[in-house]
Symmetry: C2
Subunit: 461 residues, 2 copies
C-alpha cells in the first residue's frame, strides 16, 4: 500500500501529465514516509539484532518445523499491499525466527560473534547499492578492491598477481579450474572441449565437494576429477598423486591441474604444499590452493590469484569475472582491516587458534569427550560418549549406538535454542561434532559452555 | 584500534586464562562501544544516503580521476588500526565519492530512485548474515524463496516448476545452458564434453554478452554460439534460426539450445517467442528466455525455471546451485511485494513504461533530438544533434562528428554531477544515448530534466 497522498500532491495531480492513464508528476511515494519507515526498521534491527548479538541469554534459534513456521509467517503475496506497521511486524517476525549467526554460541559452520566493522561496511554497501564493473559507476569500490588485493599479494610474498573478490569458495574453485584450463590450452575458450583429449585434474579425497560441482559445470566431468588418497590426518599423499598423474598419462588423457587444500572442510588438514608443488613443476601442472588466507581472515570473501597475467585485462574485462556487475565484497574486509590494523587481524587469528587449543585441552580433561585426532588447525572434531555407553566394550554395537548420540544432542540444543553445533560422519567414522573456531569474537566462557551444555543435554543418554 | 580496556576487563584479566600468550576471557571487543559505532554509522547512512536520495539538488556523482581519488581516500591498510572517529570519517568519504545510484537522475544502466522496502530487507539480511543452504541454518529465508518462486511460476501460468534466486543475469544464463546440456545428455555431468560431438547453441546477434562468456566457461566454446541475424528492430529472424540449425546439423554437430531474449540489452527488443518455440519443438531444442519478468520487476534477483524437474532435487541439492551457500536475494523482492501488493507492482511497471512513452513523445517534439527507432519497451535510444551540426548534410562527415558528441556531453554531466546517462555505438550506428526507464521512482520532471540538461550541456557544440 502506498503511503497516503498528501494535500500538495493532490493539487499537483490537477495539472498532472497523464500518459496511458498513469500520472507521471512527482514521485510515486512520499519520501518522508519512506525515510521514516527505514528509520523505524533500523531501530528494530539495532534493538533485535545488533544489541542482542552479544547477549548469551538470548536464544540462538527459535526452532519451528517448516509447516508450522509457514503458518506463523504470513508469506502470501496478495494483490493489495500492507501498511508500514504490518511490514515492520513482518520484519520483527523474520528476525525472531531466523537463526542468529551473530550469536556467540552459533557454532555451526564458519560463524559466531558479530563484527561491527564489516556490518557497517555492508550497511553502506546496501544503502549505496553499487554495481562493481566500471570505474565510472563504482570508483571507490574498485579502488578499494585493488588496494586489498595488492596488499594480499604482498602478504603472500609475490611480486605480481591479480585477482577479484567473488561470491564464495565454490565459485573461486571454478575460476581456478577455468584459469588452469586456459593456461593449458587457450583455444578451449573458443573451440570448447569437444574433440580434445580428456582433461584430468587431481584433488584429495578430503577436498571440498565444490570441486566435483565445478568439474561438472565446466564440462570437464566429475569422473575426470581423480581423487588422491590421504593419510590418517587427511593430508594428500604425494606418492599417490604421482601415481595418479602417471595413470592419467598412460590412459592418454591430459592432466592439467592439482587442487590442493590448506585447511580441509572437515578435519582442517593442510596438504603438503611443497612436495605437491614439486610434482606439479615436474609434470607441468597448474597448482591451485583452496583455503589459505581465506580461512585466516574469516571474511566470506573468496579470492583467486593468477601467478602470471595471461591476458591484458584492460582489453578483456569480461573474462575477469563470470558476472558482469558484482557486489563490492572487498569493502567490508577493507573497513575491518582499517579499523583493526594488520596487528589487530593477527591478534584475532591468534586468538581463534588459541581458543581451539583451549577447547582441545578441555576435551582431553573431561570424562566422556574424545577427540577424533589431534587438530592441526581450528577444526576440533570430537565424540561425546554419554554415561550409558562409557562402560560398553569397543565393537560394532558401541559405534552404532554412538552414531545416534550426536543427532539427539543436536535436536535438543536446537529446540532449546541454547547453541548450534554441526556434526557429521566421515570416512567410516560415526557421527561426531565439529567445532571450527573461526571467530575470535567468542571467549573461553563460550568454549566452556559448549562442553557443559553437551553434558547437560546428554546426561540421560 | 580496539576500544579502550575498561576497569572491569582489567580485573578479569588478572584471573585470565592464557593460552600461547593469548587472553581468552571475555569478548575481544567492548560490545557497547561496537553498538555505539554501528549506531553512529547508521545515522550517517540515514543522513547522507537515505535522506538525500530524493533530493535532486544533490550531485549524482562527485567525479575524481583514479589517481586523485586514491590520494583523497586513505586506502592504505596499516599495522595499527584507526579509532572509531577516523573510521566514521572514512565512511563519510566512501559515501561522498561513490556514485549515487539511488539518485532520481542516475540514468545509467538499470537504476534510479530508492526503494525503501528492498533497502530495509537488505539491511535485515546483512544484520542477520544468513547462509542460505539448509532449513536448519536459514529457515525463514528458504521459505520466503519458495513462496516467491511459487508465486512467480503461477504468474507465468505453469503448473509446475522450480528455481532459485542467484547472483545475476550472467549466472542465470550459465545455469540455463548447464540445464539444457544436462537435458540433452545427462552423461556430460560425469564424462565431460571430451569425445562428444560439438554442442551448438543459438542466440540472436543482440543477446547479452554473457552468453559467450557462459559458453566459454562451460567448456562449450564461444565459436559454438551461432549468432542469428536480427531484423531492423533487433529481433531474431526465425527463418535465419531455422537455417543455422540446419547448418549445425549438416556439420555433424549437436544443436541443443536456443537462447531467446525478451528485452535485449541495447534496443529492448523482444524476440518472436512463439515462432522460436515452434522451431525448438520441431528440432528438439531447449528454449531459454533471457529477461521476462526480471526487467519488469527491476529486482536484481535473477531466476531460472525448469519446465520439468529432471531430477529429484531433494537428493541432489548441490546441483541446484553452483554455490554452496547463497544470499537470501528473494527476501528483498518478497518484502517489496508484501508492501506494494501485486497491484502496486503492476502500477510501478505501468508507470515506468508510461514514463518511457512520455520521454519518446518529448524527444519527437524537441529540435535536435532524434530517436534511433520507435521503442517497443522501456529502452529509449536517441541522438542529440547539437546546433552546429543541424544544418550539415547527411554523410560520413556528419556521422563522424555526431559520434563525438555523446562522449563530450557525458564527460560534462559527470564533472558537473547533474546526472548520469549511458551511451554506446551499436551495429554501425554512431554513439547514441540510451535511457532505460526501469525505475518507477522517477517522475515526469526527471524526464524533462534529462532533455533540458543535454541541451544545456551541449549548447556550444
Amino acid at each position: 500500500m502506498e503511503v497516503g497522498v498528501c494535500k500538495q500532491e493532490m493539487l499537483q495531480k490537477k495539472s498532472a501529465v497523464l500518459v496511458d492513464g498513469v500520472i507521471l508528476n512527482g514521485p510515486i511515494m512520499d519520501s518522508k514516509a519512506g525515510e521514516k519507515f527505514v528509520e523505524e526498521a533500523c531501530k528494530i534491527i539495532m534493538e533485535e539484532v545488533v544489541q542482542k548479538a552479544d547477549d548469551v541469554t538470548e536464544k540462538v534459534c527459535e526452532w519451528q518445523a517448516p509447516e508450522k513456521l509457514k503458518q506463523i509467517l504470513d508469506l502470501e503475496m496478495r494483490d493489495t499491499g500492507e501498511c508500514h506497521q504490518k511490514i515492520l511486524q513482518l520484519c520483527r517476525d523474520v528476525i525472531k525466527y531466523s537463526v542468529k549467526t551473530n550469536h556467540p554460541r552459533f557454532f555451526n559452520q564458519l560463524y559466531a560473534g558479530i563484527d561491527y566493522y564489516s556490518l557497517v561496511a555492508r550497511f553502506i554497501t546496501e544503502a549505496l547499492n553499487p554495481s562493481v564493473y566500471t570505474y565510472e559507476v563504482s570508483p571507490v569500490f574498485l579502488l578499494v578492491e585493488e588496494a586489498v588485493i595488492k596488499k594480499m599479494i604482498e602478504f603472500i610474498g609475490w611480486e605480481e598477481g591479480d585477482g577479484i573478490f567473488n561470491p564464495g569458495g565454490s565459485v573461486s574453485n571454478m575460476y581456478a579450474m577455468n584459469l588452469a584450463r586456459y593456461k593449458f590450452c587457450p583455444e578451449i575458450k573458443e573451440k570448447g572441449l569437444s574433440g580434445l583429449p580428456r582433461l584430468v585434474l587431481f584433488a584429495s579425497e578430503e577436498c571440498h565437494y565444490s570441486m566435483k560441482k565445478a568439474a561438472s559445470f565446466l564440462g570437464i566431468g566429475t569422473e575426470n576429477v581423480y581423487f588422491i588418497k590421504t593419510d590418517e590426518r587427511g593430508k594428500m599423499i604425494p606418492e599417490e598423486l604421482e601415481k595418479q598423474v602417471q595413470r592419467a598419462r598412460n590412459e592418454g588423457s591430459a592432466p592439467f591441474l592439482v587442487c590442493a587444500t590448506a585447511g580441509t572442510t572437515v578435519l582442517g588438514a593442510f596438504d603438503p604444499l611443497d612436495k605437491i608443488a614439486d610434482i606439479c613443476e615436474i609434470h607441468g601442472l597448474w597448482l591451485h590452493v583452496d583455503g589459505l588466507l581465506k580461512k585466516c581472515y574469516s571474511a566470506e570473501a573468496a579470492y583467486l590469484f593468477q601467478q602470471d597475467k595471461f591476458y591484458d585485462v584492460s582489453y578483456d574485462t569480461g573474462d575477469k569475472s563470470i558476472q558482469c556487475s558484482r557486489r563490492p565484497d572487498a569493502f567490508k574486509f577493507w573497513l575491518m582491516w582499517k579499523a583493526l590494523g594488520t596487528t589487530g587481524l593477527e591478534e584475532r587469528v591468534n586468538r581463534a587458534l588459541a581458543l581451539a587449543r583451549y577447547l582441545v585441552e578441555e576435551i582431553k580433561k573431561r570424562e566422556g569427550f574424545q577427540l577424533l585426532l589431534e587438530p592441526e588447525y581450528a577444526n576440533v572434531c570430537f565424540w561425546y560418549i554419554p554415561p550409558s555407553l562409557r562402560k560398553m566394550e569397543d565393537g560394532p554395537e558401541f559405534w552404532q549406538k554412538l552414531h545416534q548420540v550426536a543427532p539427539v544432542i543436536k535436536e535438543r540444543m536446537m529446540k532449546k535454542g541454547s547453541m548450534m553445533l554441526g556434526y557429521q560422519p566421515h570416512w567410516g567414522k560415526v557421527n561426531f561434532f565439529r567445532q571450527v573456531v573461526i571467530s575470535p569474537q567468542v571467549s573461553r566462557e563460550d568454549m566452556d559452555f559448549l562442553l557443559d551444555e553437551i553434558e547437560l543435554l546428554a546426561k540421560d543418554l
